[in-house]
């Protein structure tokens, strides 16, 4: 797994208390019981922990955790 996946998993588990076994590349937000409020939280945490700005609306449009990891890889590479 990429560094970005591990960083994301860390945020989801430690900050948002998502069960670690649910966090796989194919998981959807629904699988993780992440609603629109959780997207706002996650957006704030990605900014704070990783310095990556992704709006909550943008997060909601991503189908899976794998898609978010891909986006994180792009944005962190671009910095």
């Amino acid at each position: 797994m990429s560094q970005q996946f591990e960083q994301l998993k860390d945020i989801l588990v430690k900050n948002l208390k998502v069960a670690p076994e649910l966090i796989i590349s194919e998981a959807t937000w629904q699988d993780l019981e992440m609603d629109s409020l959780a997207m706002v939280e996650l957006s704030l945490m990605l900014e704070q922990e990783l310095g990556v700005g992704i709006a909550d609306e943008e997060l909601l449009e991503l189908a899976t955790i794998g898609d978010l990891v891909g986006l994180l890889e792009q944005r962190t590479a671009a910095v």
Binding site: L16, K17, A19, E33, E41, L44, Q48
Partner: protein, 396 residues
């Protein structure tokens, strides 16, 4: 209207109190008569550092980590107590008609801890860092809303707030809903988690909190009490265990002062008399009183004088707050559960930590655990704002 429609059965009980998690642990602590007050590390900078916390309450273990994370402690306590009450009542949310199940809960403040934490975020890190969960975690109505979500209760759903009378008001309101036929089952009670540095500072500045001596104020507690209520005929029809009957409710306002009770005590007296009339009971029928008994000089003198007028030479009277502390908006609910246990088990719990009774208090205070049959118990609650409520609970 059918006059028996107002007969309400208590078929389930749930408690989370400073005496412990669960009815059994809480009742054992109250009957043991030992105060649960202790120095509280979270109040290190406060002028008064005593509180009564729920021992060994692990919200993550009881509710799941993610669910616990998204709820304020005042909701944690209620969900755990409600789960116990439903199991006790033998009701299964997977099979019931949720549209006929109401939730009426009381809370004095709502999600105080969440509010204070997010206010710190606002001041230290700015408005854009404030959690989107702030409002759904701290709004008082979420107490009933989250209970409905947890158990699929889709009937009437509300939170009432009458400060320290909230739990009693909620139970009385629930009884009215059942009598009016608006639903068939109600989860009624109250929950509170107000032991935060800011709110405890506020109480201390009012002079409401005990610093050490008898009768110099209350010690704040936290927790929840939930009762499952049903019309008596319905409870009997489904062969539920009827633990007690809720037979009377009275409510009044002092219309006097924002915090002090009316010194004439007419408000609490009116609530008690209304509850007895509602129960079709004479004052002499009452075998036990669970007093509001906060240990503030104002409350105890005014309440005691009113008790003496309504029930001269009255029955054994207890303030269970000596053990649990003052659970504020949950107090009346927790104390209603204790009254159910008293009429069910013929046990009057003692008043803990009372060594110097105010000479102006002329009531028969229970100072030891007393085994005696009690047919009717009366529970009083009084809130800041002059809101008073009384319940009459009868043996099944």
């Amino acid at each position: 209207m059918d006059p028996t429609r107002g007969d309400v059965a208590v078929t389930g009980l749930g408690l989370v109190t400073p005496g412990g998690v669960g009815v059994e642990a809480s009742w054992r602590a109250v009957c043991g008569g030992r105060s649960t007050a202790a120095l509280d590390d979270t109040l290190a900078g406060n002028p008064v550092r005593l509180s009564c916390r729920v021992p060994g309450f692990d919200a993550e273990a009881l509710l799941g980590a993610r669910r616990a994370y998204r709820l304020d402690p005042f909701v944690h306590f209620a969900l755990v107590a409600a789960r116990e009450a439903l199991a006790d009542a033998g009701l299964d949310p997977r099979t019931w008609d949720g549209a006929r199940v109401g939730v009426v809960l009381g809370s004095g403040d709502g999600g105080a801890r969440t509010w204070e934490q997010q206010h710190d975020v606002l001041r230290e890190r700015g408005a854009e860092k404030v959690s989107p969960l702030l409002l759904p975690m701290q709004l008082p109505n979420m107490l009933a809303g989250q209970t409905a979500i947890e158990f699929g209760a889709r009937g009437p759903n509300l939170v009432v707030t009458t400060a320290c009378a909230s739990g009693t008001t909620a139970i009385g309101t629930a009884r009215d809903l059942l009598a009016a036929g608006r639903c068939d089952v109600v989860l009624a009670g109250g929950s509170e988690a107000m032991i935060t540095p800011l709110l405890m500072a506020g109480f201390a500045q009012m002079g409401a909190l005990s610093r050490r001596e008898d009768g110099d104020g209350f010690v704040a507690g936290e927790g929840a009490g939930i009762l499952v209520l049903e019309r008596l005929a319905d409870a009997r029809a489904r062969r539920a265990r009827v633990r007690a009957r809720l037979v009377g409710y009275g409510a009044s306002a002092d219309a006097h002062h924002m915090t002090q009770p009316d010194p004439r005590g007419t408000g609490i007296e009116a609530a008690m008399r209304a509850a007895l009339t509602d129960a079709d009971a004479a004052p002499a029928d009452v075998g036990h009183i669970n007093a509001h008994g906060t240990s503030t000089p104002w409350n105890d003198r005014v309440e005691a004088a009113a008790l003496s007028r309504v029930m001269p030479g009255g029955p054994l009277t207890t303030s269970t707050k000596g053990v649990t502390g003052h659970l504020l908006g949950a107090a009346g609910a927790v104390e209603a559960v204790f009254c159910v246990l008293t009429v069910e088990q013929s046990l009057v719990p003692p008043t803990a930590n009372l060594h110097n009774l105010d000479p102006e208090v002329d009531v028969k205070v229970a100072d030891v655990l007393t085994e005696t049959p009690v047919e009717l118990a009366l529970s009083n609650s009084c809130g800041f704002g002059g809101q008073n409520a009384s319940l009459v609970i009868a043996a099944a």
